[in-house]
């Protein structure tokens, strides 16, 4: 029989400070801003959201060098690994606010856009530090539900609605797999907290078969959320249908948080039994390499091509999870930072071109663009070379560190497949730089509107960052080192 014991856990405000800031700002926006006149909605929403993201960064930065600690009865683990992921998420959120500035059809829903962005970021932030399958599921659903609505924020556009519906159904199936896996792991070990699960497995208390099935289903669920290959079918539709600022945020922040969760749950809870999941994650990585890169080759729409390319990048990130050494965690963190920057930059550029043309952007729409907007075109070249993994961009160092960790960690085959995937990737990433300098077409029309200035500045800043972090990777790698050491102390 179940005995009811009531215990209250001590509240650690510093552990959830970012989430409190983000969610209360979202509530304030929803309650106050609907009373605002329509023309003030976007400026106020953007200001509150930007302020909230900046304020949310304070706690993770302040706690950066603290020793890892658990909070709320072991359900959260505040460490540099989670705090680093939080910082990446908040940076992506800030950039999403900036990219959305001046988006014409967001005006009448600007309040909702920013409030949902804050709610999604709060869920992601909680997920980054969760140490329990319960909190992980709640946080995952918080950010997923916010994202489903964000994809369809433009309710008059059918592609957004359809993309959101597909994303919701496939995403819910992924969540159901994760939940069933969690329930089976709970059945096998009697625990939800990652370290207690690991303890139970170490003592041999766990039921082997149920546990194995549970881990398998958790990996499937994570595969859905990290848009890894056999479970990627929602990615192109949701990414293409969503308003471009939302796509930029999703591609960067969702990937970050899904990979951080995958790494944390597999290492912290099932680290002892890595033999049972290592090859499964490796197989997902290989499938992602194949599907992402081959499907991207035949896309004409830039957003769709970038969506498939993110599936290819999941291959590299899952390589790091399969290797799961400290070096791999460090490589994954560096990769996630560079990946977020270059993806947001590339999508911001697509957003600019989209606003110039007033329709979805095809690769051909970039023909001759270098003669019209040289600086933006140069940034696009930086992003594409970096996504392809060519020196001297950040993407090159990111891939090298992943490969070296894979070879050191005894997963050489993943490094070899990764090299092959990179070669295939050149086939589609380089289409855009070549199109940009195409002299055979008339110089494209592009009326200038002042709202582009902010987005253009963002594009240039991210391009400079991607290049500088590629030439001088030391400081970022040091930060990644701190983050990885806080999870894997070996």
């Amino acid at each position: 029989m179940i005995t009811l014991t009531v215990t209250t856990v001590p509240v650690s405000w510093s552990a959830i400070a970012p989430e409190i800031v983000l969610l209360s700002c979202a509530c304030v926006l929803l309650t106050c801003a609907i009373f605002l006149p329509a023309r003030l909605a976007h400026p106020v929403g953007a200001a509150v959201a930007a302020g909230a993201f900046a304020a949310a960064m304070v706690a993770p930065i302040a706690q950066w060098h603290d020793a890892p600690r658990t909070a709320f009865d072991d359900t959260l683990r505040i460490d540099a690994f989670g705090n680093g992921a939080r910082l990446l998420i908040f940076a992506a959120g800030l950039l999403a606010v900036v990219v959305a500035w001046g988006m014409p059809h967001l005006f009448d829903r600007a309040v909702e856009y920013h409030a949902l962005l804050l709610a999604a970021a709060a869920g992601m932030s909680l997920l980054a530090v969760s140490n329990s399958l319960v909190i992980a599921f709640i946080a995952l659903e918080l950010f997923s539900i916010a994202l489903y609505v964000l994809v369809a924020i433009d309710v008059d556009a059918l592609p957004g609605l359809e993309g959101a519906l597909k994303y919701l159904i496939v995403g819910s199936v992924g969540a159901a797999f994760l939940l069933y896996g969690s329930a089976l792991v709970y059945g096998a070990t009697g625990q939800f907290e990652f370290d207690l699960i690991a303890q139970s497995i170490r003592h041999g208390d766990a039921h082997g078969g149920v546990l194995l099935l549970g881990v398998a289903m958790i990996i499937v669920g994570l595969g859905f959320k990290a848009n890894s290959a056999p479970f990627h079918m929602w990615t192109p539709d949701a990414y293409e249908g969503a308003p471009t600022p939302v796509t930029a945020f999703m591609s960067a922040a969702t990937k970050t948080v899904a990979l951080v969760l995958a790494f944390r749950v597999l290492v912290a809870a099932f680290g002892e039994d890595s033999a049972i999941w290592q090859d499964a994650v490796g197989a997902l990585a290989v499938a992602s390499f194949a599907v992402g890169n081959l499907a991207a080759l035949r896309q004409a729409n830039v957003k769709r091509m970038l969506a498939y390319s993110t599936i290819g990048h999941t291959g590299f990130l899952f390589t790091a999870v399969a290797v799961h050494t400290q070096a791999a965690a460090r490589a994954m963190f560096y990769y996630l930072a560079i990946y977020s920057l270059m993806n947001i930059g590339a999508f911001a550029l697509v957003a600019i071109r989209e606003r110039e043309l007033g329709r979805p952007v095809l690769i051909d729409d970039f023909r001759g663009y270098a003669y019209r907007r040289p600086l933006l075109a140069l940034s696009m070249v930086v992003f594409m070379l970096s996504l392809a993994g060519l020196p001297p961009m950040g993407g090159f160092i990111a891939k090298i560190t992943i490969w070296s960790s894979a070879v050191d960690g005894g997963q050489t085959y993943l490094a070899i497949v990764g090299v092959a995937a990179t070669l295939v990737g050149l086939g589609y990433y380089l289409k855009i730089p070549f199109a940009l300098v195409d002299r055979d077409v008339p110089i494209p029309e592009s009326p200038y509107r002042p709202a582009f200035a902010v987005t253009s500045a963002t594009v240039l800043a991210t391009a400079v960052a991607v290049m500088v972090l590629g030439i001088i990777p030391g400081p970022l790698l040091d930060l990644a080192q701190t983050a990885s050491a806080s999870l894997i102390g070996r």
Binding site: M1, I2, T3, L4, V134, F137, I138, E141, S144, I145, Y148, V149, A152, V155, D156, L158, P159, L161, E162, G163, A164, L165, K166, L168, I169, S172, V173, A175, A176, L179, Y180, S182, A183, L184, Y186, G187, G190, F192, P236, D237, E240, G241, R298, Q299, R304
Partner: protein
């Protein structure tokens, strides 16, 4: 009378399987949402069964939370279905062809 945990887990596995089968074979968004709900509710059954098995209430608490979350999720889904219907689209995912490659 005592029913072993394996019976509950078997039932939940069957329900989860039915839900999964529905998701992979059906095309109507409403049936898809229904199937997803089946999957989530089978998880609840598993959680509650194991909660009883371990004599630990955290599984039950999780099941309550899952109920709330599943409701929010399905409401967002229904909202999207209504919005799509309003846009005069056909309620059949096979015929939602705007996003085909």
């Amino acid at each position: 009378m005592h029913i072993g945990v394996e019976y509950f887990v078997s039932v939940s596995a069957i329900v989860f399987g039915i839900g999964m089968f529905g998701v992979f074979t059906r095309r109507s968004p409403l049936i898809l949402l229904l199937s997803v709900e089946l999957m989530l509710n089978s998880c609840n059954l598993t959680l509650i069964a194991f909660s009883r098995y371990w004599g630990d209430q955290s599984g039950q608490v999780f099941a309550l939370i899952v109920m709330g979350i599943a409701a929010s999720e399905v409401v967002v889904g229904l909202g999207l279905v209504v919005a799509v219907a309003r846009r005069k689209a056909d309620l059949d995912v096979d015929r939602l062809t705007a996003l085909r490659h």
